[in-house]
Symmetry: C2
Subunit: 255 residues, 2 copies
């Protein structure tokens, strides 16, 4: 095991570069960190390209193929340098960026969450984690939605990328395909034709589009959905955080 003590080390520079989308795209790799997420990657048999720890004893807690994985002992300073959190746990791994599908699946029966131009990485990660908990079949990242490998998205997903099907695609193509396969699609906008979500009978096959934090779902996409849902507000707040709204909707809709 090699010990690294300087932020100027070429390996550290490589890891640091993976904090940017450009760096991740170029390397085809991203960094995960923290006991829970690294543990989830191991449990789901993801290949760890590299493991970095601030304490040698940490390796005893991680059940991976250490004979065939480069492992580096790094200083707390380096951990701070490459971490996306303020208080890193000192456990990192590099993975391939491979958890994304570009092609629509053949079988579209199931429950699908479609993200239209969601901006906040924390919201996106939380939506993926929430959809995972609810038993959603897959999530589609539409154009404009932030990168799934963004460190803040990765942190908020809590490892859900290892057990969810994640897609990148054009939401109009998806809505057309869902319609063709007889899967009902819901938009989320308060308009004259919208119905309270609680009036919809739970089902195991649907598509739900959640929209941009400020502007909601784009009109073109809304026009392709079968029905619009809204969450009745009993208090004075005018809107909900988009991840909270997603939780309320999918925990009701999923049978």
């Amino acid at each position: 095991m090699e010990t690294i003590t300087s932020n100027q080390n070429s390996k550290v520079k490589e890891w640091k570069k993976l904090q940017s989308k450009k760096g991740r795209t170029k390397a085809g790799e991203y960094v995960i960190e923290g006991w829970h997420i690294v543990g989830e990657a191991i449990n789901h048999h993801k290949q760890l390209l590299t493991v970095m720890v601030t304490n040698e004893d940490f390796l005893d807690e991680l059940d991976f193929d250490s004979a065939n994985t480069p492992v580096y002992l790094i200083t707390p300073e380096i951990a701070n340098h490459i971490s996306s959190t303020e208080t890193p746990q000192g456990v990192f791994a590099v993975l391939k960026t491979e958890d994304y599908h570009e092609k629509l699946p053949d079988n579209l029966k199931g429950s699908w969450l479609l993200l239209d131009n969601i901006q906040d990485p924390g919201n996106i990660g939380t939506m993926v984690r929430t959809a995972d908990a609810a038993g959603i079949s897959g999530i589609v990242f539409g154009q404009g939605t932030a990168d799934i490998y963004n460190p803040k998205v990765v942190r908020a997903m809590q490892g859900s990328q290892f057990h969810m099907q994640l897609f990148s695609g054009n939401l109009l193509d998806w809505l057309a395909a869902l319609k063709k396969h007889g899967v009902k699609t819901f938009g989320t906008e308060l308009n004259d034709e919208a119905v309270p979500y609680s009036t919809v009978v739970p089902t195991d096959s649907f598509g739900l589009v959640m929209g941009n934090e400020g502007n909601g779902v784009s009109p073109e996409i809304l026009s392709w959905t079968d029905q619009n849902l809204y969450i009745p507000m009993k208090g004075e707040a005018e809107s909900l955080n988009v991840a909270v709204a997603t939780g309320i909707l999918i925990f009701h809709l999923c049978k």
Copy 2:
């Protein structure tokens, strides 16, 4: 209207100090920012102690008593310096820290959200905003729960502090008082006696305790609740973000 161009100005230093809890406690003031939140403060007749804008024209959009309120024109650099966001909108106001009640209300009929040691400011603010949307009567910040005037809490609340009753108190006192008034209380923990939340009949009078992100509700507090609820997970994620879980629970429970 005075123009300020230096971060070294004494007023700027005062505003900057309000970013820390110590500074807020000492001054009895806190800063709000952004069009929506400042607008909410004005709509709810909160006294603006000071208004700061980066553009004189912004004042035309704000309907406050400008004759009796000190207004400062500040540079974008100062806006960045005193802002808690990366892209400030250039509209700020200073308010009194007065939206908190220490004493239990006489009438405990209603729906109450009790926060036990919630740590993340974004989660806390989102929970307040969600409770507001659901029509919750009041929120109790138990010991250990982060300060309501923390800039990240304030941002995530989106102005809900102006229309919600917010309390600071000992949750055991609250649970005892709710019990005495015949208000049913729910803990949130997955244990042998917990029931799925969806089996509870919606009601207009209850207390719901949400716990710490990592450790959940403390055992002592749980022992004082009438019933434990859990959210069945159909997928592989082991837990939900606490603000999302709050949304799912209170939008079901609130009649």
